[in-house]
Structure formats: structure tokens, C-alpha cells
Amino acid sequence: MRKYKWLVPTLYILFLMLPIYWLLNMSFKTTNEILGGFTLWPQEFTLVNYITIFSDPTWYIGYVNSITYVVINTVISVSVALPAAYAFSRYNFLGDKHLFFWLLTNRMAPPAVFALPFFQLYSAVNLFDTHIAVALAHGLFNIPLAVWILEGFMSGIPKELDETAYVDGYSFPRFFIKIFIPTIAAGIGVAAFFCFMFSWVELLLAKTLTSVAAKPIAAIMTRTASTSGYELGLLAAAGALTIIPGAIVIYFVRNHIAKGFALGRV
């Protein structure tokens, strides 16, 4: 029995990595090879797919657009959620518990529900096809999430810390920026990570609210699939590149994520 204890983790990792491997594998093949038959690794190794993406503006601008609205969204979500979470964690006010739960219910509605009203609304105020439109729309689910995560971290900080700072002579804004935010830095990191990820992977709202100027990479990928035939190698390369930002962000918060989960908030 003991002899085979490597078996389960190995299988686990194998199954986890298989789709990612296949994506990478495809991205280094030519479309002909992909369609031609079953090969475990590229027979004609090629970087042409990546070269196309990095040289063709209609491709790489998709990444720029996505990153732009994702970063805007993350900044807005976290900075709006910080004071909200502080209020929920420190004060009692009328309906605070209901309001807090209601935040969560915002995540229960599928984004598709909001696609039509958002499209109409953003068009009406001339925000259609802008980065800020997508960033604001993603706030719909990211702000509640960030409030929820940050509240958990803030409630772990005793309110006596606030009192000590006031006694020391700090005003509220100074305390919040100089003492409180560094104290919950891990929580801010986790909240920012989830905002980033959810905004990065969300496609429906991003696609609905953009046409040319702010088109996200995922939308560009679907377009290619439908118009210029099956450029599977190119699509695979685009997909592989799409994984990278998430992987980078996850690397930075890997030590704090577990705490976020432990607080039962993620």
C-alpha cells in the first residue's frame, strides 16, 4: 500500500495539468498539424502563432483592453469596498446585517440578466465601448465580493487597535491610511486578486458593452473562431497567454489566499 502512495497525487496533478498542457501543445503547432492527427507534442515546432499575436494590433490590443478595464475595476472595487467593509465590521447601524447579506445576493444573479439593461444604460450615457464601462459593470459582482472578503479580515483586527490609535492622537483618516491599511494588507491583496480574476474571466458583460475600442481578448478569440475559419494554433496561443496574468497575480497572493478561505469569505 505504502509503495503506491505517490499514485494519487501524481494522477491528480496529471489530470489538472492535462488541459493546460494540451493548450500549450497546440499553441506551438501549426493549424494543419492540429487538424491533421493526434500528436502528443509538436512535430513541427513553431512560434508563428505567438509572433502573430504580438505583432498584429488587432490581437494584442485585446490584452491591453482587458488588462486596462480589469485594473480599473480592481482599483475601483477595492477602494470602494475598503470604507464599506470598515463600516460593516465596526459599526452597528439600521439593517446592517440585512444589507451585508444583500451584498452577497448580488452574486446570485447571472450577469446575463444585466447584459441588456447595462447595454441600454451605458449607450444612453455615452459610455458604450469604453474601458470604464466594463470596469463599472464588473463592479456589480466584484464590489460585494471585495466588501465580503475585507470585512472578514477587518473583523479579525480588534477595535482596540483603532482606539489605541485615536488615543495616540491619530485622526480617523490618518489612522486608516497609515495604520489600518498596512495591518490588513493581506486582505487587500486577496480581495484585489479575486476582483482581478473575476473581472479577467468575465466575458458576457465585457463583450456586450464593447465593440471595437475596448474589446477584450476573450471576445477577439471568439471572433477569430467564427470569421477566419479555424485558426486553432493562434487561438491556443491566445489562450495560453490569457492564463498568464492570473498565474502572476496568484503567485503574489499565494500565501494569503488560504487565510481568505479560512475566514469563510471566499
Partner: protein, 355 residues
């Protein structure tokens, strides 16, 4: 004239934390707030600090009405029961924080932090993070931060309660020295009578948001004005039993009675409540007047140098505390001696009757 509370009331929602409270505290030495949990110690400390505003009433400090003055403007320091330090800063930055806010020069800050750290034996830890320190060192850091600025009022909310026994004794011995010649007023909240006695000064005995007695600490201990003050200021709990005075004799029950002593002669015939501290109910006959009673032992606790026994007599639980080891078996009938010269008498409403 130092810290004066005038009809202070604090309500939170529908709960009253502090009932109409008026007291004038001493400027010198320790002012101890003694009470169990929920007695209002922390609420009172927050009111005194200015972290909370009273629902009604006024707070005056050194001749000025400070009721509505914000905490940042009051020049107070505070140490909590929990070890509260700024976790993202080093010990040095923690101690220096009130000085930095006050805008002192770098050189002054270095000098004052250095001397206070020396006093509290924190010098080797100045560069470390508070989370890396032991509980005692964390609380020393918090104390250093409270002492580093020249506060007019220092509030200590059970600062030793979360420390283990040894550290608590060590720090308790150091505390009075730290506050001498500072020209500041010290308020010290605690739930432990021993702590109050060892610190001396004056004591405010609190019970459920009300002051039950205020005065010199040893006087509050020796002469409780009412039963609640006696209960608050006793550990193990003071024994309280009904007695009656008839024809010059005090009757504990049908079997036990004694002729009123010189200090008890003033009592008129009638029913009273008698309070006697646990260490005046002993298995060994004490010197002076005593009567003996027999009770069934319910619980015994031995702690090396002293023994505590809970026993039952007439459906009344008594507690005896004595030096040395007196191992009674649970369930046995045992004999205890009440030192009747140390009995305190209260009317049925609980107010002390003195000559």
C-alpha cells in the same frame, strides 16, 4: 479636583452600561476601578478617555469640562487588556507613534523612546516586530507607548489579565514605580481584589454599572459600606449569612449563637445579614473570640500554601480559606471556626451597620 463625573449615564441601544454616576477621583496615585465583568469598567474607561460620549451627564478633568472634547485632543494614554500594538510596525515605531503624531523632532523621539525602552527592558527588541515578542513583552511595548508621551491621564484596562501568573506579578511590582513623579492621573481597571490591594491608592468598587463604594483602597476593603462592595472586593467570595440579634446574643441558627462582643453591642434586636471573609472561617481555632460550626464539605481546593473548602450548613454554602494543607474529604462533616471579631453586619437591604 481632578477627574469628576457628574451624573454620567451611558446607554447603548436599549441597554444601560453606566447608571447615573457621580464621583470625584483623586489626582494622586492609583485610582482603581474594581468590578467583575459587565460591571462597567471598560465603558467607564472609554468615557474617561473620550472614545465614547456619555448619553447624559458631564465629565470634568482638572477644572475643565471635557465631555465633548475628542480623544485626540485630551492628552490621554491607554493600555488594553489584549496586547494591542500596530502589527506592521517595529517596536521602536510603535513606541514612537504618539510622538510622531505630535510632530516632535527625530532626535527627541529617539531619546525618549530610548529611555522608556530602557525602563521597560525593551531595548534589545526595538528593531523587532511586536508579533515576534512574548505576551509580556508585547504588553510592555503597549505600556511604553502609553508612557512615552506626557499624558495627563493614563487609563489601564486590566493590563495584566492576559499575562501568565509569573509575568503578572513581575509587572505588577514594576507598575507603581513607572507612574511616580509623572504628574499624571492613573486609572486602573481590574477584576482582581489582590491586584487592587497591592497597588493601593483609591478604589471605585463597581457593580452592574453603578458605584457601590469609593474611597481609600484599604478602607474599601476593610469597611465595605454595603454587601455589594463586600462581594466585589473579596476573593474567594465573602460569606454572607442571615443572623438575628435577640437579647444580647447573636444567633446564627438554633444551635449556634454567641453573646454580642464589644463591637456588636450596638445592634438592636432584629434580623441582619452577616458577612465574614473566607479567611476568617478556618478549620483551626483562631486567636480571640470564635464560634464553631459544623458543615458538610462540598468542594476542596488545595494550592500548596493554602486550602479552600466549600461546605454546606443550613442550605447555605460557606467558604473557608486557611493557611497550610487541610484536606477534608468531600462529603465529610467538618468543624470550622468563625472569627466573630471580624464579622460585618448589614441591614436586610444590604447597608452596613456601624456603631
Amino acid at each position: 479636583m481632578s477627574l469628576v463625573l457628574k451624573n454620567v449615564v451611558k446607554k447603548v441601544g436599549s441597554e444601560t452600561h453606566i447608571y447615573d454616576m457621580s464621583v470625584e477621583l483623586e489626582d494622586e496615585g492609583f485610582n482603581i476601578l474594581l468590578g467583575t465583568t459587565l460591571s462597567g469598567k471598560t465603558s467607564l474607561i472609554q468615557l474617561m478617555a473620550g472614545l465614547e460620549k456619555p448619553t447624559s451627564g458631564e465629565i470634568w478633568f482638572r477644572g475643565k469640562n471635557v465631555t465633548t472634547v475628542a480623544v485626540q485632543k485630551r492628552n490621554v494614554s491607554m493600555v488594553h487588556q489584549q496586547f494591542i500594538n500596530y502589527p506592521s510596525w517595529s517596536v521602536f515605531e510603535n513606541i514612537a507613534s504618539p510622538l510622531k503624531v505630535a510632530g516632535l523632532t527625530r532626535a527627541t523621539i529617539d531619546e525618549r523612546v530610548g529611555s522608556i525602552a530602557e525602563m521597560l527592558k525593551l531595548t534589545p527588541m526595538l528593531g523587532r516586530n511586536p508579533n515576534e515578542l512574548s505576551g509580556g513583552q508585547q504588553q510592555r511595548t503597549a505600556l511604553a507607548r502609553a508612557l512615552v508621551k506626557d499624558s495627563d491621564l493614563i487609563l489601564l484596562d486590566e493590563p495584566l489579565a492576559n499575562l501568565d501568573y509569573k509575568l503578572r506579578e513581575e509587572l505588577r511590582d514594576e507598575l507603581p514605580k513607572l507612574f511616580t513623579d509623572r504628574g499624571c492621573m492613573v486609572i486602573y481597571a481590574t477584576s482582581e481584589p489582590e491586584e487592587a490591594l497591592s497597588l493601593g491608592g483609591h478604589t471605585v468598587a463597581l457593580h452592574e454599572g453603578q458605584i457601590v463604594q469609593y474611597g481609600n483602597t484599604s478602607k474599601v476593603y476593610r469597611d465595605p459600606e454595603n454587601l455589594r462592595a463586600g462581594k466585589v472586593f473579596s476573593n474567594p467570595p465573602i460569606n454572607i449569612v442571615p443572623v438575628s440579634m435577640r437579647g444580647g446574643k447573636i444567633h446564627l441558627n438554633d444551635l449556634v449563637s454567641w453573646p454580642a462582643t464589644e463591637s456588636q453591642k450596638h445592634l438592636d434586636d432584629g434580623d441582619y445579614k452577616m458577612a465574614v471573609r473566607a479567611h476568617h472561617v478556618t478549620p483551626v481555632q483562631p486567636q480571640g473570640h470564635s464560634v464553631n460550626i459544623q458543615g458538610r464539605v462540598l468542594v476542596t481546593e488545595l494550592s500548596g500554601s493554602e486550602s479552600v473548602a466549600h461546605f454546606e450548613l443550613d442550605n447555605q454554602t460557606w467558604i473557608s480559606q486557611s493557611h497550610g494543607m487541610h484536606g477534608n474529604n468531600v462529603g465529610d462533616l467538618a468543624r470550622f471556626h468563625i472569627n466573630i471579631e471580624h464579622c460585618l453586619f448589614f441591614d436586610p437591604a444590604g447597608n452596613r451597620i456601624t456603631a
